[in-house]
């Protein structure tokens, strides 16, 4: 199957799918998409772009992995999706550079992700529920999520 490699931007720059907003303590990501699948992909791209910097654009995928998440609601699903990728990235020294959302409901997500061998240049301690939101923003969807750095 093919995985679309998205456009990237360094933190602070507005890209096609995400941007970083000012936050008193930490890093606040805003992501958007035409539908929820694209929104979840863009949020993951934003986080990876923060962790691995602009060099991420030159990485080549080494393997495909499956991610399956279940959560109580859509907001928790977004936090758990990003937390899962953060855990894999930091414990296995991998960057995730392509995201194919196969299934997405209010409480379940199944995705195929492309991994590349890389070491992060920034640290994220955790993905938080702080100021977390997912909302309809015509013509698509928008989310904000704060990372504890």
């Amino acid at each position: 199957m093919s995985v679309v490699r998205p456009t990237r931007a360094s933190p602070g720059q507005r890209a096609h799918g995400f941007e970083f907003l000012d936050h008193p303590g930490d890093v606040k990501l805003r992501a958007w998409g035409r539908d929820l699948e694209e929104l979840f992909s863009h949020a993951a791209e934003g986080m990876m772009s923060f962790l691995f910097g602009s060099g991420i654009a030159n990485l080549q995928p080494c393997q495909m992995e499956t991610v399956e998440i279940e959560a109580a609601n859509r907001e928790a699903l977004l936090v758990d999706w990003l937390s899962e990728l953060l855990y894999r990235a930091t414990s296995e020294y991998r960057a995730y550079i392509g995201f194919q959302i196969n299934k997405l409901t209010k409480t379940e997500l199944n995705a195929t992700v492309a991994a590349a061998v890389a070491e992060a240049i920034e640290d994220i301690k955790a993905v938080t529920h702080h100021e977390l939101s997912i909302r309809k923003h015509e013509p698509g969807w928008e989310a904000t999520v704060v990372f504890d750095t």
């Binding site: 602070g12 970083f20 907003l21 000012d22 936050h23 008193p24 303590g25 930490d26 890093v27 109580a72 928790a76 758990d80 937390s83 855990y87 930091t90 414990s91 020294y93 070491e119 992060a120 240049i121 920034e122 640290d123 301690k125 955790a126 993905v127 938080t128 529920h129 702080h130 977390l132 704060v146 504890d148 750095t149």
Partner: protein, 478 residues
């Protein structure tokens, strides 16, 4: 929720302010803030005060919910917050400890005066940067197998002593002797173990740092002597925590608490306050996991201590072991008795500051009160304080933990010029070894509140007494 204005705060002393229970229906206790008037005027525009009020709504919270003068916005709980809940029927909250479990500060004291080592400081800084892994990416010099990880998590300093990284004297100079009663490796999520397996002995990034300092001023001679400090002495301050192991532990328990809260009939103003009754299976499991992660953090600071001692001897050719003055945690929940009630004291960005005569502090500090370390921002002074009787009666034996962030990281990057900052630190005679320009800018002094103002508030209220002022001569950061 209506915003908090200056009129909502009642000034009870020159440096203490309260938001009464009547401010919001869901408050169970008063919210109290220690701050100067200019600090309060600045704070009313920030979300941190609303977060303080939110902590006053937690089940079992004891009067009052507290904030120290270095308060700033956190997740759920404000950073600089102290919240005690009744152990019998109150809650424990991972958010009240934070993602970096047992982030803390250790002070090492040498026998050297600054003029004796001045010409070697640059080499010291370079060698420390080489020997203490900083930043992120691949981990430290050791990778723990399952058995060693169990031992670190269960016994903390016990493991470090056995492995030859620590002495009994070191353990005597650490909160809980570096081994938290109640720690149990089986409560630590597998993923947390994996994330931390190669991170022991690493400083990490963000606001973590290691500083070589000079004791610039002694404020309290008797206490300084008891702490082994003298004017012009060279000290080393280590600020780091439990690294990925603690972050993942908190992440997983926040998720668990979020799932079970409804079963316990708990509703909250903010999901990051997610909690469970302390006596519940989930509350107890978190407490055991947090205690284990705290043990990991103490071992982390111990391995860094071991590396610094080695550099000290190699570079200076001095046959001395840097002594641990004390090691304080500023992100932790402790089971303590206050006013005759067993409590879970959540300190998030706050330091235990037990006064004279308290149990749980080293024998040699029983007459002085325990040492409290308050690092300033990079390039500015740090303070050694001492806990007092006022802390025991007013603040659940707690004080401030640092300067407190003033500018967001993004604003810091927009307003601070890297070259000028380097020049300023250079002009102050400070050797800087930083992994990245960005990391340096984000932690620039201008991004933080004035540490002097913070410790002055604590001294004026009598919560902690000033003992010594330390200034940096070399900074190593991730």
């Amino acid at each position: 929720m209506r915003p908090i204005g200056l009129a909502d705060l009642r000034q009870i002393t020159p440096y203490a302010w309260e938001i009464p229970r009547s401010f919001r229906n869901d408050m169970r206790v008063t919210a109290r803030l220690y701050a100067s008037r200019p600090m309060v005027e600045h704070l009313v525009h920030e979300r941190a005060l609303e977060q303080l009020v939110n902590t006053a709504t937690l089940p079992g919270v004891q009067e009052p919910a507290l904030a120290m003068p270095d308060i700033h916005q956190g997740y759920g709980f404000p950073i600089g917050g102290v919240v005690a809940t009744r152990a019998a029927d109150g809650v424990i909250s991972p958010g009240g400890v934070g993602y970096d479990i047992n982030c803390g500060v250790r002070l090492l004291a040498s026998g050297a005066r600054y003029p004796e080592v001045r010409e070697h400081v640059a080499r010291l800084a370079t060698q420390i940067q080489r020997d203490v892994p900083t930043g992120i990416g691949h981990g430290g010099r050791i990778t723990l197998d399952d058995r060693a990880m169990d031992e670190v998590l269960n016994t903390g300093l016990g493991w470090a002593i056995k492995a030859g990284y620590a002495s009994e004297a070191d353990a005597d100079s650490i909160e809980e002797r570096g081994c938290f009663v109640g720690a149990s490796a089986d409560a630590v999520p597998e993923r947390a173990r994996k994330r931390g397996r190669d991170q022991l002995g690493t400083l990490g990034s963000g606001n973590h740092f290691l500083e070589v300092q000079r004791v610039e001023r002694i404020h309290d001679r008797a206490r300084a002597e008891a702490f082994g400090l003298f004017e012009d002495q060279v000290t080393v301050l280590v600020h780091t925590g439990s690294r990925g192991l603690g972050h993942q532990t908190c992440t997983e328990y926040v998720r668990l608490m979020d799932q079970v809260m409804a079963e316990y009939g708990i509703t909250l103003a903010d999901r990051e306050l997610a909690c469970a009754p302390f006596v519940s299976p989930e509350g107890q499991a978190y407490f055991r996991a947090m205690a284990s992660a705290a043990n990991f953090a103490w071992c982390n600071r111990q391995l860094i201590t071991h590396a610094v001692r080695d550099v000290w001897q190699r570079v200076l050719g001095r046959d001395e072991d840097l002594a641990v003055v004390y090691d304080v945690s500023h992100n932790i929940a402790k089971l303590e008795e206050h006013r005759g009630v067993p409590c879970v004291v959540h300190r998030k960005g706050a330091t235990r500051a037990f006064g004279p005569g308290s149990d749980g502090i080293p024998e040699r500090y029983r007459r002085t009160g325990q040492p409290v370390f308050v690092p300033g921002s990079m390039g500015t002074a740090s303070y050694v304080l001492a806990g007092t009787d006022v802390a025991m009666s007013e603040t659940f034996g707690s004080s401030c933990h640092g300067a407190g962030r003033r500018l967001s990281r993004q604003k810091a990057k927009q307003t601070i010029d890297y070259n000028r900052l380097r020049q300023e630190l250079d002009d102050m005679g400070i050797e800087v070894r930083a992994a990245s320009a960005k990391g340096l800018i984000e932690e620039a002094p201008a991004a933080y509140k004035d540490v002097e103002e913070v410790v002055n508030v604590m001294a004026e209220t009598g919560v902690t007494a000033k003992v010594a002022r330390l200034v940096p001569v070399a900074i190593v950061k991730g």
